[in-house]
């Protein structure tokens, strides 16, 4: 795959250098080994190490970011090269005796297999690229709450980020007064908000009238929701859009009554 994409240096330069984009030091090494037409188990280490360093210099000339991993590999190659020059040490323990290249070869072979696996995945018929499902949105969009899916951590953090971003505009950011708010307190607020109804919206819990509550309260509420979810007192849901991606407000829903009833006991045990 790496050989497919290339960077071209200096369109203005009369020569123009092209260099494949590498996925990392192992990818670069495989490329060098392949272009030397040698077996990976028989790497001519001195040649490859020199070419490797030359490539890094070229990358630097092209102003490509040469990540630390590349330099670590350069050091490894130099070390192997030096080991290959030394006669085997008769006094050393047996497991030190092997081919100094062995570990690197094993890693290269391993990486090569995953590159192949990635290429095979790339060739499969992908949903959304090669094949498309029968599209059945139904006669009219259903209300969000009725096609709920469970919300993952990322959606929850996203919602949190959105709320925090909006809170930035309330001007409340300049407040220096310390508010003491506990997660436990916010858990009680959440359960209170759910009293007598089955669900409410996440954003509702961090608003007071038209105003967003302060940052400490957001954070405490967020933690309270996670804690209550863990205690199985509530569940967190979000609707999905036509494409199946979670979107829209996050709903906080009370779990079945018996579980929701004894959550308070379990909270007391905790704190």
């Amino acid at each position: 795959m790496s050989a497919g994409s290339e960077v071209f240096a200096g369109a203005s330069s009369p020569y123009g250098v092209s260099l494949p984009i590498f996925e990392g030091p192992l990818d670069l090494l495989l490329h060098l080994i392949r272009s030397n037409e040698v077996d990976v188990t028989e790497i001519p280490i001195a040649v490859v190490a020199d070419q490797y360093v030359q490539t890094l210099e070229l990358m630097r000339d092209l102003h490509l970011d040469v990540a630390g991993e590349y330099l670590v590999m350069a050091a490894t190659l130099a070390w192997i090269k030096s080991r290959m020059l030394l006669p085997p040490d008769p006094s050393s323990i047996s497991d030190e005796q092997g081919d100094p290249r062995a570990e690197l070869v094993a890693r290269l072979l391993e990486y090569q297999r995953f590159k192949e696996a990635a290429a095979e995945l790339a060739e499969r018929p992908w949903l959304g690229r090669d094949v498309y499902p029968a599209h059945t949105p139904g006669p009219e969009p259903e209300p969000e709450a009725e096609r709920e899916i469970e919300v993952g951590l990322f959606q929850l953090v996203d919602a949190m980020r959105r709320v925090l971003a909006q809170a930035g505009h309330t001007g409340a950011a300049h407040e220096v007064e310390v508010e003491t708010v506990t997660v436990r307190e916010r858990m009680l607020v959440v359960m209170e908000a759910l009293r007598g109804r089955e669900a409410c919206q996440f954003e509702e819990l961090v608003r007071e009238g038209d105003l967003w509550t302060s940052r400490p309260i957001f954070v405490a509420t967020f933690l309270a929701l996670l804690e209550l979810t863990r205690l199985e007192a509530i569940g967190l849901y979000q609707g999905i859009d036509d494409l199946g991606t979670p979107s829209g407000p996050i709903h906080v829903r009370r779990r079945q009554v018996d579980a929701a009833e004894d959550w308070l006991e379990r909270v007391s045990e905790l704190m």
Binding site: M1, S2, S5, E23, G24, P25, L26, D27, L30, I33, R34, E37, V38, D39, V40, T41, A67, E69, M73, A102, V105, A106, R107, L109, E110, Y111, Q112, R113, F114, K115, E116, A117, A118, A119, E120, L121, A122, R124, P125, W126, L127, G128, R129, D130, V131, Y132, P133, A134, T136, I149, E150, V151, G152, L153, F154, R230, L236, D242, L243, G244
Partner: protein
């Protein structure tokens, strides 16, 4: 119910299902029908479609059936989609391949195999919901372990993880056929499936179903 009618019910249920639907769920809508009958009916339907040269067929993905267009029509379908065609970088593909074959796997293990930092690419795979957090490994530091999601199976058109092609037997570069000693050592090592702690439920929908318990496919 007549067999002909059963077949049409199966067809309608699959057509109207918003996501891959399991044979057992289809069987449940009809009296005296079981999952294996549903499978046979689906096969009949697919035979019918290919005989009539329809542009779609029923695919078995993520443990369920879904009606999908045939790959040869993507050049036309791409033009009417609201979203851009799915694209994954080489780094993302490599990473998802490592996760698929080595799951549950830690970030450090992925980085050791790829030789580069994988933090950003893992984050993007998590956001695209191709990869999920499958809990922690019970070793010092309790590192997070990653696994593929149900969505991974859907996107790559796999019924289950076991359907992944096995990683090609070690083949040295330069078209050489010999299976060398260092290579063997690698495959031995890869057999030690790491222990994973009970999954945290933070992940929600993606952990559903048998996807998580599916053993990773044989790597030989």
């Amino acid at each position: 119910m007549e067999r002909e009618q059963q077949r049409r019910v199966v067809e309608a249920v699959i057509l109207a299902s918003p996501e891959p639907i399991a044979p057992a769920r289809i069987a449940a809508v009809m009296p005296r029908c079981n999952p294996s009958q549903v499978r046979a009916l689906v096969k009949e339907l697919n035979d019918e479609y290919s005989e009539a040269r329809r542009a779609f067929e029923i695919w078995e993905v993520a443990g369920g059936y879904q009606m999908r267009s045939l790959p040869e029509f993507s050049p036309w379908l791409k033009q009417v989609q609201k979203t851009r065609p799915l694209r994954l970088s080489a780094a993302a593909l490599e990473t998802v391949a490592v996760v698929a074959y080595r799951q549950p796997v830690t970030r450090a293990e992925i980085e050791h195999i790829r030789g580069v930092d994988c933090g950003a690419v893992l984050k993007s795979l998590l956001e695209r919901q191709l990869v999920r957090i499958a809990g922690h490994r019970e070793v010092p530091g309790r590192p997070i372990v990653y696994a593929t999601s149900r969505r991974f199976l859907e996107v790559f058109g796999l019924s289950k993880l076991g359907e992944l092609p096995s990683l090609r037997a070690i083949e040295a570069l330069g078209e050489s056929e010999d299976e060398s000693a260092p290579g063997e050592a690698v495959s031995e090592e890869s057999l030690d499936a790491p222990e994973v702690a009970a999954e945290s439920d933070a992940d929600g929908a993606a952990t559903e179903g048998e996807v998580g318990e599916e053993p990773a496919p044989n790597i030989h």
